[in-house]
C-alpha cells in the first residue's frame, strides 16, 4: 500500500465519520444501505471468499437473528443489546447444524448451496406458521418519533448510521486479522484444494465449521440491526432466497475473497440500484429497474469476472502494478 492509497483511505474514513453532517436524509439513507450490504457481504465473504463454501441461504442467519432479538424485545421487553447475544446463539446453532450436516456428508459446491437454500426455505415456512413470531402477518416494533433511545435502539437514521458504520469497519478489521492468522491461511488452503489441505495436516472439518459459525454470527448481528432499523419482519422477506442472493452480490461483484471487495461491490450495486430506480420512475415501465440491474450484472460478470476491486486496487496504488 503506497502513500496515495493510504491517503485515499484516510479521506474516505473522514468522510464516512462526518457524513451525517454533510448529507441530507436521502444521501444518508443510501449510505446506510451501502454500509449494511458491505457488512453482510463481508460476513458472507468469510464463508465463500475465504473458506470456499458456497452458501445461498444466508437469509436464514439474518432472519433468525432479527426474529430472535425483535421477538424477545416485543414479548419480554428485553433490549437488543442483550437480545443480540441470543440472536447470535440461535444463528450460530443453525449454522453449526447446516455446516455439520453439509461437511460431515461432504457436500460441495452446488450441492452444499442447495442444502443451505433448503434450510432457509424450511425455516421460512416454519415461521409463516409460528404465532409467537407473528406468523405470515409479520412482527412489528413500535415506532417512536423524535426519541433517541440507544439502549433499545429506538431512534433516527443518524444513530443507525453510526452503528452500521462501526459494524462494517469493525468487521473489516476482524477479517484482516482473520486472514493474516493461521486459521485464515488454513481457509485459503481449503478453498484452493481441500484434499491437499487435509493431506498437509489441516483439520478441514473444524476450520470449515469455524468459518460457518463466525459468518452466521456476524450475519445475525446484521439481521438484528435491520430488524430494528426497519421495525418490521415478515417470513416472506426475512428468509427469502432473494435476501440470500442480495448478500452474495457485493463480494462477488466487488471481488471474492478480498477485504475491500464487499465494500466496493456494495457501493457499485447500491449506486446502480438508486440510479435505476430514478430511471424506472421516469419511464413508468414495470420491471425496467431490474432489467437495467440485470444488464449491469451481465456486463460486470463478463468483463470483470474476478470483481471490480482487484482491478481498481492496482489503479489506486493498493497493489503494485505487475510489470
Amino acid at each position: 500500500m503506497n502513500r496515495r492509497a493510504a491517503l485515499s483511505l484516510a479521506v474516505l474514513f473522514a468522510f464516512l465519520l462526518a457524513a451525517p453532517l454533510l448529507l441530507g436524509n436521502y444521501g444518508l439513507s443510501v449510505l446506510i444501505l451501502v454500509l449494511y450490504f458491505a457488512f453482510v457481504g463481508q460476513a458472507w465473504n468469510i464463508m465463500m471468499g475465504f473458506a470456499g463454501q458456497l452458501s445461498l441461504g444466508h437469509a436464514l442467519y439474518a432472519g433468525l437473528g432479527g426474529y430472535v432479538a425483535a421477538g424477545v424485545y416485543f414479548h419480554y421487553g428485553l433490549g437488543p443489546w442483550a437480545g443480540v447475544f441470543l440472536a447470535i446463539a440461535a444463528a450460530v446453532a443453525a449454522g453449526a447444524i447446516v455446516g455439520y450436516l453439509g461437511f460431515r456428508f461432504s457436500l460441495a459446491g452446488v450441492y452444499f448451496a442447495l442444502l443451505t437454500i433448503a434450510f432457509a426455505e424450511f425455516t421460512r415456512i416454519g415461521f409463516d406458521n409460528w404465532p409467537w413470531a407473528g406468523g405470515s402477518g409479520g412482527l412489528f416494533l413500535k415506532v417512536e418519533r423524535g426519541v433517541t433511545d440507544i439502549a433499545n435502539l429506538r431512534g433516527g437514521a443518524t444513530m443507525f448510521y453510526y452503528i452500521i458504520l462501526a459494524l462494517a469497519a469493525g468487521t473489516l478489521m476482524l477479517c484482516r486479522v482473520l486472514l493474516e492468522s493461521r486459521l485464515g491461511r488454513y481457509w485459503l488452503a481449503i478453498r484452493e484444494d481441500a484434499e491437499a489441505a487435509q493431506a498437509a495436516g489441516v483439520h478441514v472439518f473444524r476450520c470449515k465449521m469455524i468459518a460457518v459459525m463466525i459468518s452466521a454470527a456476524l450475519t445475525a448481528i446484521a439481521g438484528v440491526w435491520s430488524a430494528f432499523y426497519y421495525n418490521n419482519l415478515f417470513p416472506e422477506t426475512a428468509f427469502a432466497i432473494g435476501r440470500s442472493i442480495e448478500m452474495t452480490l457485493p463480494p462477488i461483484i466487488g471481488g471474492l475473497g478480498t477485504l475491500f471487495g464487499p465494500f466496493v461491490g456494495a457501493v457499485v450495486l447500491t449506486g446502480l440500484g438508486e440510479i435505476f430506480t430514478d430511471v424506472g420512475d421516469w419511464l413508468h415501465v414495470p420491471g425496467i429497474k431490474q432489467i437495467f440491474y440485470g444488464l449491469a450484472l451481465l456486463v460486470i460478470v463478463m468483463y470483470r469476472p474476478a470483481g471490480i476491486w482487484p482491478w481498481l486496487a492496482t489503479r489506486l496504488g493498493f497493489v503494485e502494478r505487475s510489470k
Partner: protein, 293 residues
C-alpha cells in the same frame, strides 16, 4: 373413511398428472447439468417465458397451447443454442459462483422482460377442455391435466429416442461421459454443448406451454419453479433422465397429497424436507450414479 381414500386417490392421480409436466421441466435442467456441468439458475424463468409465449399465442391468435407447443419448443431451442454460444460458453470452466452470477443476470432479464411486456397480473388461457373431465372407475380426472401429461410423456419418449437412436444424441452422451475422449475422436464438443442447451431449453419451453393450460402465469412464479426444478432433479438424481421424471412424479404427488392433508402454506415444507434428506443420505439422487457427482 371410504370418502377419504377416494379423495386421497384423487389427489394422487392429480399429482401424477401434474408431476409429468414437472418432470419434463426438470428434464431440461438435468440434461444441461448432466452434459456440461452448468447449473441453470434461470430455469424457472425460462419456464415462465414459455408459459407467456403460449399465453400470447392463445391471446392474440386463439391457438391452443397444445398446438403452439412445437413452435415454442423450436423457438426455445434456438434461444438456448444462441444463449450457450454467446454467453455461457466462455463460463463453462469458470468457478461456480461466476456461472451463478451470469445465470442470475439472465434470470433477472428474462423475468423482468416478461413483467415489462405483460405486466404483473396473472395471465391464463380459457379452453373448453378445462370444463371436461374423464372418469376412470371412481376417479374424475381433469381433461387438461390428462392432455398435458400425455403430451409430456410423448415429448419425453421423443427425447429418449433422440438420445439413444440419433447420431448427435449419442455424441452428446459421449461428450457427457468423457469430455477428453469426445475431443480425441473428433467430436465438435462446443457445438454439442450449444445443441444440448438448446434441447434443455426446448424441454422447459414445452413444459411451460403445457403448464399454462393447468395454472395461470405471473412473473413471480419464476423463482418458485427454479427451486422446484432443483428439488426434483436432486431427488431424482442430477444428470439422470429417468431420475428427473421419477422426481417430477414424486414431487407432484407429494404436493397434491400434502395439499389435501396439510394447510396449503405447509405443503412445500414437505418438498424441502425431502430435499434435505436426499441430499444427506443419497446425494447422487434416487437414480443417480455415484460417480456423477
Amino acid at each position: 373413511m371410504n370418502d377419504f381414500l377416494l379423495s386421497l386417490a384423487q389427489a394422487v392421480a392429480k399429482g401424477l398428472l401434474t408431476g409429468m409436466v414437472y418432470g419434463l421441466m426438470a428434464l431440461g435442467l438435468s440434461v444441461i447439468f448432466g452434459v456440461m456441468r452448468v447449473v441453470n439458475f434461470a430455469h424457472g424463468e425460462m419456464m415462465v417465458v414459455g408459459m407467456y409465449l403460449a399465453w400470447l399465442a392463445f391471446d392474440q391468435l386463439q391457438i391452443n397451447p397444445l398446438f403452439s407447443l412445437p413452435l415454442i419448443a423450436v423457438v426455445f431451442f434456438g434461444l438456448g443454442y444462441a444463449l450457450q454460444r454467446g454467453l455461457i460458453s466462455p463460463f463453462i470452466n469458470r468457478p461456480e459462483h461466476q456461472q451463478f452470477l451470469l445465470l442470475l443476470a439472465v434470470a433477472t432479464l428474462l423475468v423482468n422482460g416478461c413483467l415489462a411486456i405483460a405486466g404483473p397480473d396473472s395471465r391464463g388461457v380459457q379452453l373448453d377442455s378445462q370444463f371436461d373431465s374423464y372418469e376412470v372407475g371412481p376417479l374424475v380426472l381433469d381433461a387438461v391435466r390428462v392432455h398435458a401429461a400425455i403430451a409430456a410423456l410423448v415429448i419425453t419418449a421423443l427425447l429418449w429416442l433422440f438420445f439413444t437412436r440419433t447420431r448427435i444424441g449419442k455424441s452428446i452422451r459421449a461428450a457427457a461421459d468423457n469430455h477428453m475422449g469426445a475431443l480425441v475422436v473428433g467430436l465438435d464438443v462446443r457445438r454439442l454443448y450449444a445443441f444440448t442447451f438448446g434441447v434443455g431449453a426446448a424441454c422447459v419451453g414445452a413444459a411451460g406451454a403445457l403448464m399454462i393450460t393447468i395454472v395461470p402465469v405471473t412473473p413471480f412464479l419464476a423463482a418458485e419453479y427454479t427451486l422446484l426444478a432443483f428439488v426434483i432433479v436432486i431427488v431424482g438424481g442430477l444428470g439422470s433422465m429417468t431420475g428427473a421424471l421419477l422426481g417430477g412424479l414424486l414431487i407432484g404427488v407429494s404436493e397434491a397429497v400434502a395439499g389435501l392433508l396439510l394447510e396449503p402454506s405447509l405443503k412445500s415444507m414437505f418438498s424441502f424436507g425431502l430435499l434435505i434428506v436426499v441430499l444427506l443420505l443419497r446425494p447422487q439422487g434416487l437414480l443417480g450414479r455415484r460417480d456423477s457427482r
